[in-house]
């Protein structure tokens, strides 16, 4: 079964919720945590883990055989990302950073002048780690610096995570509601939307709940940093969107300390009210899994 942690706004605590759930649920479930926030993966930092088992994520990069090219411009016309520039002499030039590897130019060329090369745009990792008495498998996707096409890396990391047999695949997504987020959560039984009591938290919660509705996915809302602002509008919005607020993690200095130490709060301060709320949330998720 797959469960996703998302939430729209950046910095609301998606990864904090994901690693604490992972730490608790792995006590009696075989658990894979998939960090699909490929532009800024940080679950390994929060878990104090090293990335291991690096594999490149390659996409197709076109090369032009200029001896075959008949200067028809077909490749430039089909290119959706502007990666194929037709120069004044009619010859195409490839701008690698813009290329998404879609192969349209390859299929459009009438004289087979496009040669398939490849380019590494990111990496996936697989780390086996021990957390207290339990073990989890952490799969991480990481986009190379300067690259802009996240979906191939998200999908590669997702595939790698799903290839590991488990009772629960817990997915941690990036912020936003882009196609990368939709691809990350695809097939989830449940979407846990993490938000915070701020106007921007409210705004982005609306977007992520709309996405969940569009995908026909059950959504639970976790309010992180509870207590730093009013929640009336959040309560109203969640009701309107047919979702439910299932947990409120109090704003606390201990959470920051656990973050800095790379130990989930449920292990760092197991007797704290924050840890208690995470345990309650984990029990609810546990109820869905079994």
């Amino acid at each position: 079964m797959m469960v996703s942690v998302s939430g729209g706004k950046g910095g609301t605590g998606k990864s904090t919720v994901a690693v604490n759930l992972a730490a608790l649920l792995s006590r009696d479930l075989r658990l894979v945590l998939a960090d699909l926030d490929v532009e800024n993966p940080n679950d390994h930092i929060l878990l104090g883990a090293e990335l291991a088992g690096e594999r490149p994520v390659n996409i197709m990069l076109p090369f032009v055989n200029y001896q075959k090219c008949v200067k028809c411009g077909a490749c430039g016309r089909v290119c959706d990302t502007g990666a194929m520039l037709i120069s004044p002499d009619g010859l195409p030039y490839v701008i690698p950073r813009l290329c998404s590897g879609c192969r349209s130019c390859y299929f459009a060329c009438p004289v087979d002048a496009i040669v398939e090369g490849k380019r590494t745009i990111g990496y996936t990792y697989l780390s086996e780690l021990e957390l207290g008495e339990s073990k989890i498998t952490l799969v991480t996707g990481s986009l190379r610096e300067g690259e802009e096409h996240t979906p191939p890396v998200v999908l590669a990391a997702r595939r790698r995570a799903l290839s590991v047999e488990a009772d629960l695949h817990l997915v941690d997504t990036s912020a936003g509601t882009s196609n990368s987020v939709a691809a990350a959560v695809d097939g989830s039984r449940l979407l846990i939307a993490v938000t915070e009591p701020t106007p921007l938290g409210l705004h982005d919660l609306d977007l992520i709940l709309e996405m969940a509705q569009t995908l026909g996915m059950e959504a639970w809302v976790v309010i992180n940093r509870a207590g730093i602002g009013p929640e009336d509008d959040h309560v109203r919005l969640v009701r309107e969107r047919g979702a439910e607020i299932v947990a409120r993690i109090p704003y606390s200095r201990r959470v920051v300390e656990s973050y800095i130490r790379g130990v989930p709060i449920v292990l760092h301060s197991p007797n704290s009210p924050e840890a208690e709320e995470f345990r309650r949330l984990a029990e609810m998720v546990r109820g869905v899994v079994s």
């Binding site: 430039g76 290119c79 959706d80 990302t81 502007g82 990666a83 520039l85 037709i86 120069s87 004044p88 030039y93 701008i95 950073r97 813009l98 998404s100 802009e148």
Partner: protein, 115 residues
């Protein structure tokens, strides 16, 4: 100096009165101006395919200017992809914004006459 074609990223479709845009790739329109011995011969405003592009906007705008045979490109700022392509293609770039096409041409005329 003969005929030189200048391409300006502009905010609106008002001929020589169009405002030069602060950005190149995402400007709504491109004004194509023919300068004959430094005098304005004709102006056409065309849609910028980069304005609605999901990515690679700058390159799409460059491509459109290439189709017009433009030798000089004018905008408030050029993105890194557009800048690289324009430099590679030997198209001169002028960073200038907030004025009309006519004013922009006045200002860069001295520079063009050096060509």
């Amino acid at each position: 100096m003969g005929t030189v074609k200048v391409g300006l990223a502009v905010e609106d479709d008002s001929g020589l009165d169009s405002r030069v845009s602060s950005r190149f790739g995402r400007a709504p329109f491109l004004a194509i101006v023919e300068l004959e011995d430094g005098e304005i011969g004709g102006v056409r405003v065309v849609e910028n395919p980069g304005a609605s592009a999901r990515s690679g906007a700058g390159i799409k705008a460059v491509q459109r200017l290439l189709e017009e045979g433009v030798r000089v490109a004018v905008a408030g700022a050029f993105g890194p992809n557009a800048m690289t392509a324009l430099e590679e293609l030997g198209i001169e770039t002028v960073e200038l914004a907030g004025v009309s096409v006519e004013e922009a041409l006045q200002r860069i005329r001295t520079r063009l006459q050096g060509q």
